[in-house]
Symmetry: C2
Subunit: 144 residues, 2 copies
């Protein structure tokens, strides 16, 4: 497929768009095999923020290795996608958990239930994960 | 989030549904970091078939390691997803390339342009990749 490169900051518009696309998070398992699963995310400037639990395969991989890749796409013609690869830092600070859990839930579930979701996830082993992008691929109109 | 386990074969219904979900394919780069990107797929019985080029990061990882993970999801409430992890075999047989390239393009672009897409991709370094699942996670109504 011939790809059309998108303008430099187009990936931010795509990540921010509502209704929010889920991100698909890829990590590497302890045995060296890949794993991909859907997550809720939010952009914070040049970084991506999401939450996961320290006791999941995703969380364990992030604490062990820290390298991740995220993909968001438009699944119908003309097909657009953003892939963000990067490194991560984590926090289990209760204020950070409550802040990001509430804000991210609002994007995917609506403001009226965001507070309840935020409170439910504001305790360890839940973690706030912050992705610093090292490489971004952003293509729009893939099928053109 | 409390997950609801789906019936054993629900993943097949979800993978087959039209309009077709793109799959997000995760592989491991040579440096051990993960990469995820969108691909077009088709189910063939218990297996998943897709095409990629041998000279891409995806193709090189598959030829080197062969372990992949695929995720398809419904991005809006109540949120459903299927993650398929497995091993791969590849073929660059021209008949296989033409057959699967045409069939897969029909799912995503429509029957009227499938033949043109199929012919365009029916030459190496394009490959037919067949995934034999080793582990499937299928969850529906994730947000319930």
């Amino acid at each position: 497929m011939p790809y059309n490169a998108a303008p430099d900051d187009w990936w931010k518009t795509f990540v921010d768009a509502l209704p929010a696309h889920t991100a698909k998070l890829a990590v590497v398992r302890a045995d060296g095999s890949p794993l991909v699963a859907p997550i809720w995310i939010e952009r914070d400037g040049e970084e991506i923020v999401f939450m996961t639990s320290a006791d999941t395969i995703k969380g364990k991989s992030i604490l062990r290795d820290g390298r991740v890749s995220l993909c968001l796409d438009n699944e119908t013609p003309p097909f657009d996608f953003v892939t963000i690869s990067g490194t991560t830092t984590t926090s289990d600070d209760p204020d950070e958990l409550l802040r990001w859990g509430t804000s991210i839930a609002a994007r995917y579930m609506g403001a009226e239930v965001a507070e309840a979701f935020g409170k439910r996830n504001a305790v360890p082993p839940e973690m706030v994960v912050r992705v610093t992008p090292t490489h971004i691929v952003a293509k729009n109109n893939v099928a053109d």
